[in-house]
């Protein structure tokens, strides 16, 4: 419809892939024109690459990536930690320049070819750079794993700002105020878009005051408002609770079917089943190459190999046949604290006791509950030796804040923290580490400017260097999400002095092997240490808890 047929794309590499594209074997009457018996002109291709290569410091991350993306497809992009998913995403969205290969974009009805390596004279032309803004104008949008909005603008302005080609974005038009009509239309579209995303009534909310799920939906809305025909989503479900996941999946289904937006989704193994429900194709990135699989195949594979259940694991560790005994406590704000007595020990001495804890972030009350009278009731709980505690709380409950307060990174406003009968609420964080309280942060848990070797020396974990032979000389900023998590987790778990491990969503970003390694290490430590693990709240979870 919109797509002018002024360009024809001959799919020349389909045969070499080993897996034919799903569409190539079907008649393409509606989508393409048949020219001869061996090749198709396929007008529905929105993005294709040939022989894409990218290496960092001599290490080839992408070796020979050939993809062919059709309009309306929903693709799940998967791969082990460090396999280059993020690199591929960054390359296709213009944030990274590949070393070699071709990227063809037909998303916007025009055809754009970028050939790499680029000749020096290409870069002299200021309008012909391979940059995110250029690629975005060709109809490619993206979202990030972390929340990325304009925090000082409200939601409506976030969306309205994304609208391309605004007259009022030139200072001259802004000065003579000749943008009013366009701006009015833009604001109307933005409001409608927010309404469709289920954010009606939040137009004037500041972007840094909304929940994680709302942020993720707004980010999708911004990419669409910017004119994305192909949307790359980096872990859109990460950190979301069940309701949040359902919302996002509904939205994605809607934009793919109604607007024929093509989706490429990178997702963590936990959330893959949800994506597989809507995916039409799976790209598996391995050894720098992409293989194409069907969602059905992958579903089966995940079921076979991803038998991981936290409860199963606890059962196994506890050596009991039945479900392990769990004590459930409800904390204010809808969080659940589950405590499992492990290794036969029943309630040893109290390791951690928290009484009436209240923490503010700025002016916002995060930990604690406001009572009708105006008093604030704090959070209280205790953990005993030989226990494993899971904290399941909805997004925005303040899991991270609680852990930061326990680790001494932020001050508390009220309450008592006992650690082996000692008051530690006034103790600085480094003293607490010496006492054996270690905190594994969900993000920012490495030193980006140091190499892995230097980091491990700094944390006095020289012995671990041999566990990371291939990344020992890499800088922290070059590590993939999974590698970072593995590194910081092992550094914590190998601490001889460890008495209390505070693990904030430790399994995100890890692949199957990573999780197994992590759990094995926890298991060996259970004798001496108590673990307090925060997980996103998932009601009736069939995927993780039970």
């Amino acid at each position: 419809m919109m797509n002018k047929l002024n360009y024809v794309h001959v799919k020349s590499f389909v045969g070499s892939m080993g897996h034919g594209s799903r569409f190539s074997k079907e008649p393409l009457v509606a989508e393409g024109i048949f020219i001869n018996s061996s090749s198709y002109i396929n007008a529905a291709t929105v993005l294709s690459t040939e022989g894409l290569k990218k290496s960092f410091d001599g290490q080839e991350v992408l070796k020979d990536v050939n993809i062919d993306l059709q309009r309306g497809e929903i693709v799940l992009l998967r791969g082990d930690n460090g396999s280059g998913k993020t690199t591929l995403l960054n390359t296709l969205t213009g944030n990274l320049e590949p070393d070699a290969g071709t990227i063809n974009i037909y998303a916007n009805g025009t055809d754009e070819h970028f050939r790499f390596p680029r000749k020096w004279y290409h870069n002299l032309n200021p309008f012909d750079h391979f940059t995110p803004e250029r690629v975005s104008r060709e109809g490619i949008g993206r979202t990030w794993q972390e929340v990325r909005l304009f925090p000082t603008l409200n939601l409506q302005d976030n969306i309205a700002l994304s609208y391309p080609g605004q007259k009022g974005e030139g200072p001259f038009c802004a000065l003579i105020r000749s943008f009013k009509e366009q701006e009015k239309r833009n604001l109307n579209i933005s409001r409608e878009r927010l309404e469709k995303l289920g954010l009606k009534g939040r137009e004037k909310s500041s972007a840094d005051m909304i929940s994680l799920g709302q942020s993720k939906r707004t980010a999708i809305g911004m990419a669409l408002q910017a004119g994305a025909k192909i949307l790359f989503l980096d872990e859109p479900l990460a950190g979301l609770d069940e309701a949040g996941i359902r919302d996002i999946i509904e939205q994605l289904k809607l934009i793919a079917s109604e607007k024929q937006i093509t989706l490429v989704i990178v997702e963590h193994i936990f959330n893959m089943p949800a994506i597989l429900e809507i995916a039409t194709k799976v790209w598996t990135l391995k050894n720098g190459k992409i293989t194409i699989e069907t969602p059905a195949q992958v579903k089966e594979e995940i079921q076979l190999t991803n038998g991981f259940r936290m409860l199963e694991w606890i059962k196994q560790v506890g050596g009991c046949e039945d479900n392990p005994v769990a004590v459930e406590e409800r904390l204010p704000g809808g969080a659940i604290l589950k405590k499992f007595a492990l290794s036969g020990k029943t309630a040893g001495p109290i390791v951690l006791e928290v009484k009436d804890l209240v923490v503010h972030r700025g002016k916002r009350l995060v930990i604690g509950e406001k009572l009708p009278g105006g008093d604030i009731k704090g959070v209280s709980f205790k953990l005993c030796e030989g226990e494993l505690a899971l904290l399941e709380a909805p997004n925005g409950w303040g899991k991270t804040t609680l852990f930061e307060a326990l680790a001494g990174l932020i001050p508390i406003d009220q309450g008592v923290i006992h650690f082996y009968d000692q008051d530690i609420e006034a103790m600085p964080s480094w003293e607490r580490v010496r006492k054996g309280i270690r905190f594994l942060q969900a993000r920012k848990n490495i030193f980006p400017g140091l190499t892995v070797k230097e980091m491990l020396r700094l944390t006095k974990d020289e012995a671990l260097i041999s566990s990371f032979p291939e990344i020992a000389h890499k800088k922290g900023s070059d590590l993939s999400g999974g590698e970072r998590q593995k590194l910081s987790a092992l550094s914590l778990l190998k601490d001889r002095n460890l008495r209390l491990g505070l693990l904030d969503e430790p399994f995100s970003a890890l692949d199957k092997d990573g999780i197994q390694l992590f759990l094995d290490n926890i298991k060996t430590k259970l004798r001496d240490a108590v673990f307090f693990i925060a997980l996103p709240y998932i009601k009736n979870d069939k995927r993780r808890i039970a």
């Binding site: 104008r137 949008g141 990325r148 304009f150 000082t152 974005e169 030139g170 000065l175 701006e183 833009n186």
Partner: protein, 302 residues
């Protein structure tokens, strides 16, 4: 009365500068230390074209704004790549360059009549005396009252310009770039062009303030381009607060009035200058400690 008018003229000039610097600091989060340099470009352009070319105030103003906007590329092009502390250093080097340009463009054997030639453009440390009072369409602004009116009108125009610019999709774009440049680029925004635009407009405005200053004082020397002045301007926006319209104006008033108070304390001049610097420092420390967003600001400079 003249003293009050004198203060008000200074306030107008400082307010224009603070408003213009607010556009850079508050809306793109780039701390520029080169603003006094661009202010001095306005002073010198006005002095030279009125003395040498007998231009009226308006053409001189337009020329001064244009030259400063063009020269602003010296800080806006590096701003494509440099952020934070590195941008401060880049702007500092531009500041030093402009100051030494004004200070050293002089030849030893030249007299006062060679000012404005290629050999002796700025007359170096001796400065340019005898700058004519402004005149627009046969209206002579030769009294202090008239200069006050002129500076107030210019302040009004600058206020309207910056209000119109910042309360528009362009202002929204700037805020977006300030918040997250990578995100702005990924939704297809030309971040570089926007930075060039805002820095050119701000430098042009500072230059306009410079023309009023030169015409009021009738004498100009390189000290108006000094680093001290750049720091003073930056203090105004940081103390007053950035990201809105009240902040810079409050800042300009506060930093103007505090040293004036010393005048009434009968402190010897040689000490007063140092006490003034001391007060600036104290004020900045207090603001950063107690109210990081500035007295009347809404955005916190990181």
């Amino acid at each position: 009365m003249n003293y009050i008018l004198h203060l008000l003229i200074y306030f107008n000039i400082y307010a224009i500068i603070a408003i213009s610097l607010n556009m850079v600091v508050g809306y793109t989060n780039l701390l520029s230390l080169a603003h006094a340099g661009y202010y001095a470009i306005g002073c010198y352009t006005y002095a030279l074209v009125t003395i040498k070319l007998n231009m009226g105030f308006l053409p001189a103003l337009v020329l001064a704004v244009f030259i400063a906007a063009l020269m602003s590329l010296a800080i806006s092009l590096p701003a494509w790549r440099f952020k934070g502390d590195f941008f401060v250093l880049v702007s500092l080097s531009v500041q030093v360059f402009l100051y030494s340009l004004f200070y050293n463009w002089v030849s030893s054997d030249s007299g006062i009549d060679t000012i404005g030639t290629l050999k002796n453009l700025t007359n170096g440390p001796y400065g340019i005396p005898g700058i004519p009072k402004p005149s627009i369409l046969s209206i002579k602004f030769d009294s202090i009252g008239m200069i006050f009116i002129l500076s107030s009108v210019l302040l009004g125009i600058c206020l309207v310009i910056s209000w119109n610019l910042l309360k528009s999709p362009w202002g929204r774009l700037l805020k977006g770039i300030r918040d997250d440049e990578l995100l702005a680029r990924n939704i297809g925004k030309n971040v570089r062009l926007a930075k060039i635009q805002v820095i050119a407009i701000a430098c042009g405005m500072a230059s306009a303030a410079g023309t009023v200053y030169a015409s009021y004082i009738s004498y100009i020397d390189p000290s108006s381009a000094s680093l001290d002045d750049s720091i003073l301007f930056l203090c105004m926006v940081l103390v007053g607060g950035v990201g809105n319209f009240r902040g810079p104006i409050v800042g300009a008033a506060v930093l103007l009035l505090i040293p004036e108070m010393l005048r009434f304390l009968s402190i010897p001049d040689s000490i007063a200058a140092n006490v003034r610097l001391l007060l600036y420092g104290l004020l900045l420390v207090l603001v950063v400690r107690l109210r990081p967003q500035g007295i009347a600001g809404e955005y916190r400079v990181e």
